[in-house]
């Protein structure tokens, strides 16, 4: 915990409680601990947790908190994989979970205004009656919040054809670190001036808190077909991915899983995934009837020229749902192997896919670690997951060495650090591998315009000058502090 005294904590608690009411402010030690981590392996302890009910309460909470010189961290559903919502420096956690309303739907304009705490899939369910949905579909879509999606510019299987979150956000109302409220972007035509909306999307809570979001809604496709292709050789799977794209086809989704991933996924989903295949591709095409059938035939053709074992087309919606349920639960299902996992999110050029993949297996082998690969093959976004038990001494360090080598291999192949999960805390110290000190300083200056005192989600994304001693791996006491830096 940072250097805040009991008196300082009490004064802040009193002011927040007076403004928002006792039910909105949590001080109990056990309760605060629950807001100290997200789905990554990092944790820290917030000094307070605030659960605002609307935008004005967010503004009040931010104004009071920063008025006390205290940092704050926005939190959605806490499913982030990079430690973005972990509260450093004794920050106050401001959780948007109660702000989960669909405020307004414009069916003809195909847009909706939502509060940031609404869950991604709930939004799609609530507009389903209009034949519309919110296209970005992270695998965590049943639980992640729209605010979290905006902050991390999240992607999902269907973003291959539809684009990631940024392409679906029209405007964001933001409470700035001084408690004032601004509207970035707009719903009418092309807003003039700088695209500050675009700057905010992906800023991981370091520029302020989104309190209302205007999202673009996408019509549900009339026809959808889902194919499961399985291969005896991972190279054949990768070649099929390249072949499909080279043939000028743009599937709605193009996902790959390796053998171990298929095993854990099938144990949970019972969707009939072939557990003896070395690689499996899940391909979805959508659009108008005849075009869809043609695309299915051409994809099957490409797969056949690459020695596919079987081509299975989901017979109905139930079968399709079962297949996706498997894919979308892959990260969680990995815990069936070992209690902990650590994953990376690098993007590599599609041409380098096979090469990098082979390198990933090699690195894992060298360290005697289990690696599982589940990835958005269509856009070269790898998710190598190292599965381990942090209770074994030295294991966490080993996993981190392997992780770093995987990142380096991806960058060497011309790739980037993060495809969709964000940098947050966990990947922050890899930034130096990609950017020069000047680049980083430039980014930091942009941030300063919004947050000159660095009180909005401090010490995230940009390395250096941070006090990270109070954050540790969740198994931190065992791994030793700072083991990850």
């Amino acid at each position: 915990m940072a250097e805040w005294t009991d008196a300082e904590n009490r004064a802040l608690t009193d002011d927040l409680t007076n403004a928002l009411g006792a039910r909105q402010v949590r001080t109990d030690g056990l309760e605060r601990a629950l807001y100290g981590r997200d789905s990554s392996t990092m944790e820290a302890e917030p000094s307070l947790v605030v659960l605002p009910r609307d935008a004005s309460e967010v503004a009040a909470a931010v104004r009071i908190t920063t008025g006390h010189g205290r940092p704050f961290v926005a939190r959605g559903s806490g499913t982030g994989l990079a430690g973005g919502a972990v509260p450093l420096d004794g920050a106050v956690v401001i959780a948007t979970s109660r702000m989960n309303r669909l405020l307004e739907v414009d069916v003809t304009g195909r847009l909706a205004w939502v509060e940031p705490g609404i869950l991604n899939l709930d939004l799609s369910h609530q507009v389903a009656a209009h034949g519309l949905h919110f296209a970005p579909d992270p695998s965590s879509q049943q639980v992640c919040s729209l605010g979290g999606n905006v902050a991390n510019n999240s992607g999902g299987p269907h973003c291959l054809a539809y684009g990631v979150t940024s392409a679906h956000i029209l405007a964001v109302e933001v409470v700035l670190p001084d408690g004032s409220t601004v509207m970035l972007g707009g719903v009418t035509a092309e807003p003039s001036g700088y695209d500050l909306r675009g700057l905010f999307v992906g800023s991981e809570g370091t520029l302020g808190i989104a309190t209302r979001v205007a999202v673009r809604l996408t019509p549900n496709p009339p026809t959808v077909r889902t194919l499961l292709l399985d291969f005896d050789d991972t190279d054949d799977g990768a070649a099929t991915v390249s072949g499909i794209i080279a043939a000028g086809l743009v599937p709605a989704a193009l996902e790959m899983m390796d053998r171990r991933a298929v095993e854990v996924v099938e144990a949970f989903a019972h969707a009939g995934y072939p557990t003896d295949a070395e690689a499996v591709l899940l391909v979805e095409v959508d659009g108008l009837g005849p075009g869809v059938q043609e695309a299915v035939d051409r994809i099957a053709e490409v797969a056949r020229t690459n020695s596919v074992r079987t081509v299975r087309v989901a017979a109905d919606e139930a079968e399709r749902q079962a297949l996706w349920r498997g894919r979308k639960n892959a990260f969680g299902a990995v815990a069936r192997l070992e209690p902990d996992y650590y994953l990376h999110d690098t993007v590599v050029p599609r041409a380098a896919l096979t090469r990098v993949l082979r390198r990933v297996y090699e690195i894992a082998d060298n360290h005697g670690l289990k690696v599982i690969n589940v990835f958005h093959a269509g856009d070269g976004n790898l998710h190598p997951i190292l599965s381990y038990d942090s209770r074994i001494s030295g294991m966490t360090e080993k996993v981190h060495r392997a992780g770093r080598e995987i990142v380096e291999a991806s960058l060497d192949a011309g790739g980037v650090l993060s495809g969709e999960h964000g940098i947050g805390l966990e990947k922050r110290d890899y930034m130096g591998l990609m950017f020069s000190a000047d680049d980083l300083a430039e980014q930091d200056r942009v941030r300063s315009v919004f947050d000159p005192r660095r009180l909005s989600n401090p010490d995230k994304i940009i390395p250096g000058g941070s006090r990270c001693a109070d954050a540790g791996w969740s198994a931190g006491t065992r791994a030793g502090e700072g083991a990850w830096v």
């Binding site: 109990d28 056990l30 789905s39 369910h125 969680g332 038990d389 209770r391």
Partner: protein, 397 residues
């Protein structure tokens, strides 16, 4: 850090189970108490973190007791969890430890459970409940029978080849429902033995409340009463789940063999010849055509027994079915939960009623008496699936 009123405790949880949660949060939207509070402490992920914390420190406090007490025990989280966290067993173990160390059960609830073991007492109190239910029933497009004020006696056939488990709550409150379910079973051409007062209670509510010793006694009583090796058909999802758990609860091969004989009544009906028409039909067919039935999956059928598809298979020949879009979210009845936490239970029910609305439908099928009563009290036209089938067979729907 407020640690007021803390006390030492050994939760007795398996360390492997404690580390099996990877904190992914995929269970959150499937948790009714998270849905109504939107707070981590009321979520499965939060409860598991607290269990880990208490297991490590060896001390619990009132905040912990409240968090564990507020859990419905619906196990929606367990069904949604890709990591296979055995939440249901962990909850039961934790509650049992709290009963030991903290005298956790409020006294009035203990008395409530005692009543369950004495069917006659229960019948008296349930009559009062039936009166309450009557006054709150909301009129619907399809007239529903009020919950009967008198118990219907079920005939038992000594030569019967299948056991029909009547349980406690269901027997006392819903004799007509039981009679209808039994008629549907008999319409397939079997004779039925009725468990009745010889097997007074399955013990599910006791386990959920952490009263494991009492639950084990009841289990032995039930097993002794339902002799032979014929199948045991259970028309209540909650009781069925519990009878299937006896193997785990008692840990004996005898109990495991007993549990293997237990089937939800719908599971048993799948694949059997259920006649579309039974008995004399009314001269005029019902005016409204084929009704649409929205299927509500009781948690203990869907998340615990995984037998919810069977209800659809049984209903399909008789009705159009409508599916809810809430992935089997709990309705808030939760055994004794609705009695212990009435306002939360009503809030959770609002979510279910909204999902029922979105699905559309004339009637609601619910294969658990507790859920059915709870939904009806909220104004939903809910009936047991076999009561629906029974009426359709008689030409009344």
């Amino acid at each position: 850090m407020s640690r007021g009123g803390s006390f030492p405790i050994d939760l007795g949880l398996d360390p492997e189970d404690l580390v099996s949660c990877v904190h992914c949060g995929l269970c959150l939207p499937h948790c009714p108490t998270y849905r109504i509070t939107q707070e981590e402490i009321a979520s499965p992920r939060g409860r598991l973190m607290l269990m880990a914390e208490v297991a490590e420190s060896g001390r619990a406090d009132p905040v912990f007791i409240d968090a564990i007490d507020a859990c419905v025990g619906c196990r929606g989280c367990e069904a949604a969890c890709p990591s296979g966290v055995p939440y249901g067993h962990m909850l039961e173990t934790t509650r049992a430890a709290l009963v030991e160390s903290a005298g956790y059960q409020p006294w009035w609830r203990r008395i409530g459970y005692r009543i369950l073991e004495h069917p006659r007492l229960l019948r008296a109190s349930s009559r009062i409940l039936a009166l309450v239910q009557r006054t709150r029933l909301v009129p619907s497009r399809f007239a529903l029978p009020p919950i009967p004020l008198r118990r219907t006696r079920l005939e038992s056939s000594p030569r019967g080849t299948v056991w029909f488990f009547t349980g406690c709550v269901m027997d006392a409150w819903m004799g007509e429902t039981l009679a209808a379910a039994k008629r549907v079973v008999e319409s397939t051409g079997v004779e039925v033995r009725v468990s009745g007062d010889a097997a007074p209670c399955c013990g599910a509510l006791h386990v959920h409340a952490g009263l494991e010793a009492e639950a084990r006694d009841l289990a032995r009583e039930v097993m002794a009463a339902l002799d032979g090796d014929g199948p045991v058909l259970v028309p209540s999802a909650g009781c069925g789940a519990q009878l299937k758990e006896y193997g785990h609860l008692l840990g004996t091969s005898e109990a495991r063999a007993f549990s293997a004989r237990v089937l939800d009544v719908h599971e048993w009906l799948v694949g059997r010849d259920i006649p579309l028409r039974v008995g004399p039909q009314p001269a005029e067919p019902p005016p409204r055509g084929r009704p649409v039935v929205a299927v509500q999956d009781p948690c203990h059928l869907r998340h615990v027994q995984h037998a919810h598809q069977a209800v659809r298979t049984v209903l399909e020949p008789f009705f159009e079915l409508a599916e809810l879009d809430d992935a089997g979210l709990c309705c808030g009845a939760g055994g004794a939960y609705s009695a212990a936490h009435p306002s939360e239970a009503a809030e959770i029910r609002e979510l279910k009623l909204a999902a029922i609305d979105r699905a559309g439908g004339d009637l609601v099928a619910s294969a658990n008496p507790g859920c059915m009563i709870h939904l009806r009290a909220g104004g939903a036209p809910a009936l047991h699936p076999l009561e629906l089938v029974d009426r359709a067979q008689r030409g009344l729907l």
